[in-house]
């Protein structure tokens, strides 16, 4: 009797332990012949413009590719409303109810941190097209997580390196108080060793910067470095020029870009940023992408659109390599890791932590020949740049 119970217990234990492990490795979605992709983006509230660009970039690629990876494709778009709790719920729905093969998104790091576990623990592949949190690049790197964007620090490191090369002695730093904001300033200081005139963390979603601008005016720093994506950036840039501060160089990342330039227009021209791409880069893939985007949406694409466009190309290349058979997960991960597609940004490959190895540039806001506003490459700052956390990643 006792023996039987032991046997039963050990059997149950074995089944209990291995069954979820098996389920984890091959999600149910892999076994059907439809390629389902869930897009999780912030599509409402002040940062909606970023999510819309990313969604449009992905859909543009999906449209030109037709059946992604040669499979019947279904794309489900969900709005996380900028709320991590809601995003986690919706990500769970995508994975467990809709049986998606890939989850693509989100824009913000706090949303990414909320959906990483619900998505990747089921074995589903998560491709971030924007947020690239330091933890996921380092200690908590994950074989089911890829990013087509960058590690959060990197664009800021570009600006830090630029500030350093200009010999600035005191720079005023400002970022919203959340993970990406902290990563931003850490990234800037990684390559800038001069002094700081002030370091201010604002509330996420803050729209009136009068207090911060008053501090900048009072401190008169050599330059300002900031990270204010979306609506925050629009308000900051307008208020910055209204306050007559334009003589102080304005360095930023994700603040002056194609999502905010339509709103800021001339107020932002001449402001500098760091990026992994700009719409005026000259290569065949970029021309196809930018022209296609402008023709379809009558707007200049930004990095959000480009990186989501690449996510669609990435999925397409990997699924095609496997002939649509997604049940061998190791083969799928390896196929994704090869990144066998032509990115509009030129050089693109994945590092050991599934984060991109790519070039970074100093970009400047300009009025384009077609009358629209966009960024333009000024100089290359980093070549084939690997993020600082890759060494900590063990997969």
């Amino acid at each position: 009797m006792n023996h039987k119970i032991k046997l039963l217990a050990s059997t149950l234990l074995t089944v209990g332990l291995t069954a979820p492990a098996f389920a984890q490795d091959v999600p149910a979605a892999a076994n059907d012949d439809v390629l389902k992709i869930g897009l999780v983006y912030t599509l409402s509230g002040p940062p909606a413009a970023l999510g819309e660009q990313a969604r449009d970039g992905f859909l543009l690629a999906a449209e030109s590719l037709g059946d992604i990876g040669g499979m019947k494709t279904e794309i489900i778009i969900v709005d996380d409303e900028g709320r991590p709790d809601l995003a986690a719920d919706k990500a769970r729905e995508l994975v467990q109810r809709d049986n998606v093969d890939f989850v693509v998104g989100p824009i913000f790091s706090n949303i990414l941190m909320a959906i990483v576990q619900p998505v990747t623990s089921t074995g589903t592949i998560l491709i971030s097209t924007n947020a690239g949190t330091s933890t996921l690049a380092g200690d908590s790197c994950n074989p089911n997580f890829f990013t087509t964007s960058y590690q959060n620090d990197q664009n800021h490191e570009v600006m830090g390196a630029y500030a350093q090369s200009q010999g600035y002695q005191n720079v005023f730093l400002m970022a919203p108080n959340y993970q990406a904001g902290k990563d931003s300033l850490a990234g800037f200081k990684h390559s800038y060793t001069g002094a700081t005139a002030g370091e201010v963390f604002t509330e996420l979603g803050q729209l009136d910067f009068s207090s911060e601008l008053a501090q900048i005016a009072a401190f008169q720093p050599d330059a300002v470095f900031t990270f204010m994506p979306g609506g925050m950036g629009v308000n900051l840039v307008k208020q910055y020029s209204q306050a007559g501060l334009t003589e102080i160089p304005f360095l930023s990342a994700f603040t002056v870009d194609e999502t905010t330039l339509p709103a800021t227009q001339d107020a932002a021209v001449g402001m500098l940023g760091g990026a992994n791409w700009a719409p005026d880069m000259e290569n065949e893939a970029n021309k196809t992408f930018v022209d296609g985007y402008i023709a379809k949406y009558n707007a200049v694409p930004g990095t959000y659109a480009m990186q989501a466009y690449d996510a669609a190309q990435l999925i397409d290349s990997a699924v095609k390599k496997l002939g649509g058979d997604l049940t061998d997960r190791d083969a799928l991960r390896a196929a994704i890791h090869e990144a066998d597609f032509d990115s509009p940004r030129g050089d693109f490959s994945f590092g050991a932590n599934n984060f991109p190895v790519q070039d970074f540039y100093l970009v400047e806001a300009v009025k384009r020949e077609d009358g629209m506003y966009g960024t333009s490459v000024k100089e290359k700052i980093f070549d084939d740049y690997v993020d600082n956390y890759a060494a900590k990643c063990e997969m």
Binding site: D208, V234, N235, Q239
Partner: protein, 305 residues
């Protein structure tokens, strides 16, 4: 540091003027009609959306502003007639529930009409740019214009409340409603006038900030709490109280927001100091409220019940 102090004082004054425009209506509605209107912030948001629409349609901020005023009055009259009129005799709890419901309905309606993306209102050319203040300091012309416009409205209200027949009825209503009614004044008409006046002022505040901030749903809620603090500090029903309360609250809020973190940064790391400052600034406002209520339980200019 002195420069920063002066700039923040100006910023505080500008915020105070805005708070006053919103609080003036709220304090009248609260004081005269005895209605707690949580939906007052909605009117501020609607004002911003109206000017965004009219300015885009006419291509001119000034025409937009001109068209916004009658539209705001119409919104005020409709809300008073459809919702508020039914709440005068109800308990405060009913009023809170109904007007809170109105907030949600209005926010959703705005999303349906104008979409979820924030709108922006172009700043009139002659008010864009900045003027030199002292040394290298400059201050945006538009924010100065807000201060001037707000002071003009405050002066107009002062004259109206103290020297006109409507103003006399307002003062009488705030002091003793039943006596005013007993003297044969059409109380429904008075209420409609009070509410519409409040609505127009709140919409004006929304319209004035629209070129500085992006116009977004939910912008009303962020100012509503501060506005209630202003009304309570100033004394319910008192325009003069609302004015002083608004300036006081805004100056304490803006100075606390900047100098709090600066002082804290001496002892804490920047992220924590910034966060603490954010927590500290609104707390200063409530501490101010507590101190004032301790000394004057009815607010600065309120009448003891």
């Amino acid at each position: 540091m002195m420069n920063l102090f002066v700039l923040q004082l100006l910023n505080g004054l500008q915020l105070g003027i805005l708070l006053f425009l919103i609080a003036a209506g709220l304090t009248l509605v609260f004081g005269i009609m005895d209605v707690i209107n949580l939906a007052h912030g909605v009117l501020y948001m609607v004002g911003a959306y109206l000017i965004a629409t009219f300015a885009a349609a006419t291509g001119s901020f000034w025409l937009g502003l001109l068209l916004m005023l009658p539209a705001a009055a119409a919104v005020g009259l409709v809300v008073e007639f459809v919702v508020m009129r039914r709440l005068y005799d109800r308990s405060h709890l009913d009023q809170v529930l109904a007007t809170f419901g109105l907030v949600m309905i209005a926010n959703e309606a705005v999303k349906m009409i104008w979409g979820t993306s924030p709108l922006s209102v172009p700043m009139p050319d002659i008010l864009s740019g900045s003027v030199p203040l002292m040394g290298p300091l400059k201050y945006p012309v538009y924010r100065i214009a807000i201060i001037v416009a707000g002071l003009a409205v405050a002066a107009g209200l002062f004259v109206m409340v103290n020297y006109t027949r409507v103003g006399m009825l307002l003062r009488a209503g705030a002091t003793n409603r039943s006596t005013v009614s007993a003297l044969g004044v059409d109380i429904n008409r008075l209420f409609a006038i009070v509410f519409t006046l409040g609505a127009v002022l709140a919409c004006l505040a929304g319209a004035l900030v629209a070129p500085i901030l992006s116009v977004d749903t939910g912008m009303g809620e962020s100012v509503l709490i501060l506005t209630f603090v202003v009304v309570v500090i100033g004394g319910i029903g008192s325009i003069k109280g609302a004015f002083l309360g608004a300036i006081l609250v805004a100056v304490v809020d803006t100075l606390g927001g900047v100098f709090g973190p600066i002082l804290l940064r001496e002892v804490l790391d920047p992220a924590a100091a910034g966060q603490m400052g954010r927590v500290l600034a609104p707390m200063l406002v409530y501490i101010l409220m507590a101190v004032i209520l301790f000394a004057k339980p009815a607010g600065l200019f309120g009448r003891p019940a």
